[in-house]
């Protein structure tokens, strides 16, 4: 097994008396796709926020290549190669699809501080952005504003932004949420491609079990902010404890 690319050690965040993520220790490896499952409110998105920096841990560490990320801003973490797509679509609404992607490419390139050169003179940035446009099959709507896109395309753009960041760690938060059946395979195919690269680490929050089965190398289960199970998909999905949690909440939710 290669060196882990990302490690969370006793990662904890408290909101007043509520512990949303409780001492989660977990190591992720390059070339591995880990799906994080758990009932609503289990702390999956909070766990993501702690890794990508939208929230700061109360205690514990997030280590990437031995460096502790806790205390760094989201932008610093992004520059260190931790990339994140969001569950609720989180785009630049009044900018075009191409501009959206170009911004992510440019952030990676470090050209953001150029004040007196023309933005469109950086043709290699535009070319890269167009590459991701094609990869996500958004070329046809390149000049449409993000706000005017149908929901499925917005989700794809969300993924395209993450890809354009070219991170080492890809974090997808329910990438196919609310997507129609004909759009979802496009996104899954993209994730499949990233997964094929042995230097990339993929973390994925997902509810749809068929998606989980198709993609997961490993599943971790969060429940009430705690790490409940961790292992290969077949093992985790058949374990009694996971069934209890899922069935338990299922009955609570229907009640």
């Amino acid at each position: 097994m290669p060196e882990p690319s990302l490690v969370t050690r006793d990662l904890t965040i408290r909101f007043g008396g509520h512990v949303a993520v409780n001492q989660v220790s977990c190591a992720f490896h390059p070339g591995e796709l880990t799906v994080i499952v758990g009932p609503n409110g289990a702390g999956k998105t909070t766990y993501f926020n702690l890794i990508s920096g939208q929230l700061t841990a109360t205690s514990g560490q997030v280590l990437k290549g031995g460096q502790n990320l806790v205390g760094l801003s989201p932008s610093a973490r992004a520059r260190l190669g931790v990339g994140r797509a969001f569950q609720l679509t989180n785009l630049f609404p009044q900018l075009s699809v191409l501009e959206n992607i170009r911004l992510a490419v440019q952030a990676r390139s470090g050209h953001g501080w150029r004040v007196l050169s023309r933005a469109d003179s950086f043709t290699e940035l535009t070319r890269k952005a167009e590459h991701y446009l094609e990869a996500t099959r958004l070329s046809a709507v390149a000049h449409t504003t993000a706000a005017a896109l149908p929901h499925g395309d917005q989700r794809k753009l969300e993924v395209a932004l993450l890809m354009a960041m070219e991170p080492d760690i890809y974090m997808f938060d329910e990438p196919t949420a609310g997507m129609s059946l004909d759009h979802a395979p496009d996104v899954l195919h993209l994730i499949f491609q990233i997964k094929a690269d042995p230097t990339k680490t993929v973390l994925l929050v997902e509810h749809k079990m068929d998606v989980v089965r198709k993609l997961a190398d490993r599943i971790i289960v969060l429940h009430n902010g705690e790490l409940l199970a961790d292992g290969p998909p077949e093992e985790v999905m058949t374990s009694q404890i996971v069934r209890d949690v899922y069935l338990g909440t299922a009955t609570e939710e229907t009640a």
């Binding site: 989201p74 992004a78 989180n90 630049f92 170009r102 440019q106 953001g112 150029r114 449409t144």
Partner: protein, 360 residues
């Protein structure tokens, strides 16, 4: 609803034509409008285009609301004014004063920026309001230095004296071109015009640069801009400083033109309100909006009273109307015009027209 935004729309072209026309008019203003007041208006328009455009960098491009913009304008104006007063008329005083103004603006803007650009927009706006009030109070209290409420009168460099002859004929008299005396007043106007043009072109370059795209990203979605790797606080502080420095230079230019600097011309909140109105009327987030807004507003301020006087005379025989059109009520009509403009052009004149062209 997929309107392509890459191609220029009819509205785009209309706006750019209008701006070019305004630029041409301002460029030849001394020859086209040969009276003192018109030149005063043209110079004020030039300076306010820069001032409003630099404010648009903040409010329109980055989404930062500041009430301290006149303060920076004032730093530049007072910098030049105090040194011109102390050192006598000369370019050294203008340049040193301008630099001093920029330096003070940068220091204050960095301090405000780093201390408070992390907080919510409304708190930031309040902090700038407080800073601007302090500057206003200081300017009126430190009267041995700033002239207090009376302000400072001084002389501009010799080239700008109305009696200075740029070109003379064989008799030693000032040469005329199309009936316009080639004297210091003309030189002063072109100093204002050229400085404003350069500053405006610099800003145009900035908004089209990679940095400009980051500013728009911050306006659109600050959290996501941060998440894809842009240090939002650093960018916001930078643009706040840049806009402060440009406002300060505009202040210096205006001080040289007016040969007087006081709270009313350089620091008062009335100017801040003018800037806000111009940016809203013209349209935020487009440098062109600053041009249109400044032109309309300055012209209205100077000529609405005259126009109303004419209208009141013309309608003298009709009851009530002359009363309504009495030049003393010009502010009332200005208010009504604003309300109508905001109602019919919710995104400002430029913003709304560009959009209309896109749909058509």
């Amino acid at each position: 609803m997929s309107a392509p935004v890459s191609k220029p729309t009819v509205g785009d072209i209309a706006v750019k034509t209008a701006v070019l026309l305004i630029a041409a008019l301002l460029c030849f203003a001394p020859f086209l409008f040969q009276d003192v007041r018109a030149l005063e208006v043209a110079a004020r328009i030039c300076v306010f285009i820069v001032l409003v455009a630099s404010y648009d960098l903040l409010i329109g491009y980055t989404g930062i609301v500041s009430f301290a913009h006149t303060m920076f304008f004032g730093f530049g104006a007072y910098g030049a004014a105090i040194l011109l007063r102390q050192m006598g008329p000369g370019w050294d005083a203008v340049i040193l004063g301008g630099l001093a103004g920029v330096l003070v603006s940068l220091v204050v803007a960095t301090a405000i920026g780093l201390l408070s650009l992390r907080v919510k927009a409304i708190f930031f706006a309040m902090i700038t309001l407080a800073a601007a009030s302090v500057a206003l109070v200081l300017a009126s209290q430190l009267s041995h230095f700033t002239g207090g409420e009376d302000g400072i009168t001084y002389r501009a460099p010799d080239v700008f004296k109305p009696s200075f002859k740029l070109l003379t004929d064989e008799n030693g008299k000032v040469l005329r071109l199309f009936g316009v005396k080639l004297n210091g007043k003309l030189a002063a106007y072109y100093f204002v015009f050229a400085s404003s043009l350069i500053l405006f072109l610099v800003m145009l370059r900035v908004v089209g640069s990679p940095l400009g795209t980051v500013l728009k990203a911050i306006r659109e979605n600050e959290a996501r801009a941060e998440a894809i790797g842009y240090r939002v606080v650093a960018y916001r502080t930078f643009v706040f400083c840049l806009s402060a420095a440009i406002a300060s230079l505009a202040g210096t230019v205006y001080a040289v033109w007016l040969k007087y600097t006081g709270p009313d011309t350089a620091l008062s909140f009335a100017i801040m309100i003018d800037i806000l109105l111009m940016v809203v009327i013209g349209g935020m987030g487009t440098m062109w909006g600053a041009v249109i807004g400044a032109v309309l507003m300055v012209i209205a301020q100077y000529y609405l009273r005259d126009l109303m006087g004419v209208a009141a005379d013309a309608t003298a025989s009709i009851p009530l109307l002359p009363e309504l059109l009495n030049p003393d009520r010009w502010l009332f009509w200005l208010g009504i015009i604003f309300i109508l403009l905001v109602y019919f052009f919710p995104k400002g004149i430029v913003g709304t027209i560009t959009q209309k062209g896109g749909r058509g």
